[in-house]
Amino acid sequence: MALLQVDHINVFYGAIHAIKDVSFHVDEGEVVTLIGANGAGKSTTLKTISGLLHAKSGKITFEDKDLKGMPAHSVVSHGIAQVPEGRRVFLRMTVEENLEMGAYTQPRASIQTAMKDVFQRFPRLEERRSQIAGTLSGGEQQMLAMGRALMSHPKLLMLDEPSMGLAPLLVEQIFDIVRELHRAGTTILLVEQNARAALSVADRGYVLETGRIVTSGTGQELLASDVIKKAYLGG
């Protein structure tokens, strides 16, 4: 049984049919990536899993629990954390307060240990713990967004374009962190436009095109595929 099973979901924005009959799964311990061009429906898919949007039809199961109609704030307590596109850290709150918000569903006593773990992974955040998040650099904000999501000890971590808008060196660093998390056993669903980098860290990948899954395979298979090379890897 997969950790996350998405079955034939359809998602609409009013009359716009954004996600069409999409099915995929993520097994425990895997890194799975969803790649696709602008507007393919990657973010919409993640938002539907996290409960910010609701599918009109189809089924989403997480650890045998049906997530249908569950509000976003309860999805978190079932063990799914999403790092949204554009990071969306709380710019007017301190680094520490942002991390506390990440642990909102957790018992108070566990917050200090979780924060220590995050600081160990992201030493930069510890140096800036009392700084207002709005004053952090883009890379630091991305680390904060990831650290914030890790505060809830998620069974599934969903990352929406973590490398967006970052300098190449930082992009590298973000993917290194994804690898480390993978090694530590975290299950990750990674959405990226940076297909090459995403496929090289992923166990498996799915390709979304205008709301449909058109191809899937292991990271290596997709990296080697001619069609993918042409469309997403610049030839």
Binding site: G51, L52, S74, A81, R88, L91, R92
Partner: protein, 294 residues
């Protein structure tokens, strides 16, 4: 009376009125900060609070402290009830629908009060008498109580917002509703809590208003509410310290205008100052520019 004591007593008057404006302005600002609604029914919550305290003391002869608690409880419950019944169903509706609903609720409360209590102004004996003599002036106990109570309430609010889990959740929701939900924060609970706190402050404000003017009328909330709204905008709507600053600024401004013998002009001056401040700084004194979301 010499110059100095005149100035002193006007400052006390200004602080007393300003305390009430500030408490009420906080409710406007907090609600705006969290759901971007100019809650025009907020002033009428004060009116209901004032009637509650009024009847508790005059008809039921309850102890003033019990009456005050009752007024705060009724205001809080009413604020939360209005939010649940009238605003929650419009969470994803256009802002304008929400605004018009708030104006509708305001009329409903005013007319409802008129129906229940009559259109006339109800007066009672002063709640607090006497004062302290300081040189040639007297500072009334009412003014002292008002200033102390509101300062305590504002300090408590600052602690709540800065230190408690719910307070931080309020800040998170007001900054980014979507991201806040992804943290596991319930919008319904947090927004209800915000209305509860804002309305409780309005309830306290209503009683402090009764200390200054021992009377209640169905429309008493509209002018007070409007002034407090101006205070919130002046200070920077959405900002908690801004609402406090705006409230005291307007109270003092009115006192100064009255002191120089132009008391019938004081409302005009308040609005003129608002216009000038907004021309110079459209976000208000402490207001922050709304950050564009990526």
């Amino acid at each position: 009376m010499d110059w100095l004591s005149l100035a002193f007593s006007q400052i006390v008057n200004g602080l007393q009125a300003g305390s009430v404006y500030a408490l009420v302005a906080l409710g406007y600002s907090m609600v705006y900060g969290i759901i971007l609604l100019l809650n025009f029914a907020h002033g009428d919550i004060i009116m209901v609070g004032a009637y509650t305290a009024f009847y508790a003391m005059t008809a039921f002869h309850l102890h003033p402290v019990v009456s005050v608690v009752l007024a705060v409880l009724v205001s809080t419950a009413l604020g939360v009830f209005v939010e649940k019944v009238a605003y929650t169903p419009l969470r994803s509706a256009p802002r304008l629908s929400l605004l018009i609903t708030a104006i509708g609720i305001s009329f409903l409360l005013e007319n409802g009060a008129q129906l229940l209590f009559g259109a006339d102004t109800k007066s009672m004996d002063p709640m607090v008498r006497g004062g302290i003599r300081l040189g040639t002036t007297t500072v009334s106990f009412a003014a002292i109580i008002t200033i102390i109570v509101s300062v305590i309430a504002m300090a408590a609010l600052s602690l709540l917002v800065r230190r408690t889990k719910l307070g931080k959740a309020m800040r998170a929701v007001s900054e980014d509703m979507g991201a806040a939900q992804l943290m596991g924060i319930s919008l319904n609970k947090t927004i209800s809590f915000t209305f509860a706190v804002g309305s409780a402050l309005a309830g306290i404000g209503s009683v402090l208003y009764l200390c200054a003017y021992p009377q209640a009328s169905p429309t008493m909330g509209s002018m007070l509410g409007l002034k407090a709204f101006v205070a919130a905008v002046l200070g920077g709507i959405g900002s908690i310290p801004g609402a406090m600053l705006g409230g005291f600024a307007i109270g003092l401004l009115e006192a100064i205008v009255s002191a120089v013998g132009l008391s019938e002009w004081k409302d005009g001056v308040v609005f003129a100052v608002l216009i000038v401040v907004l021309l110079v700084k459209p976000t208000g004194i402490l207001g922050k520019k709304i950050t564009e979301k990526v």
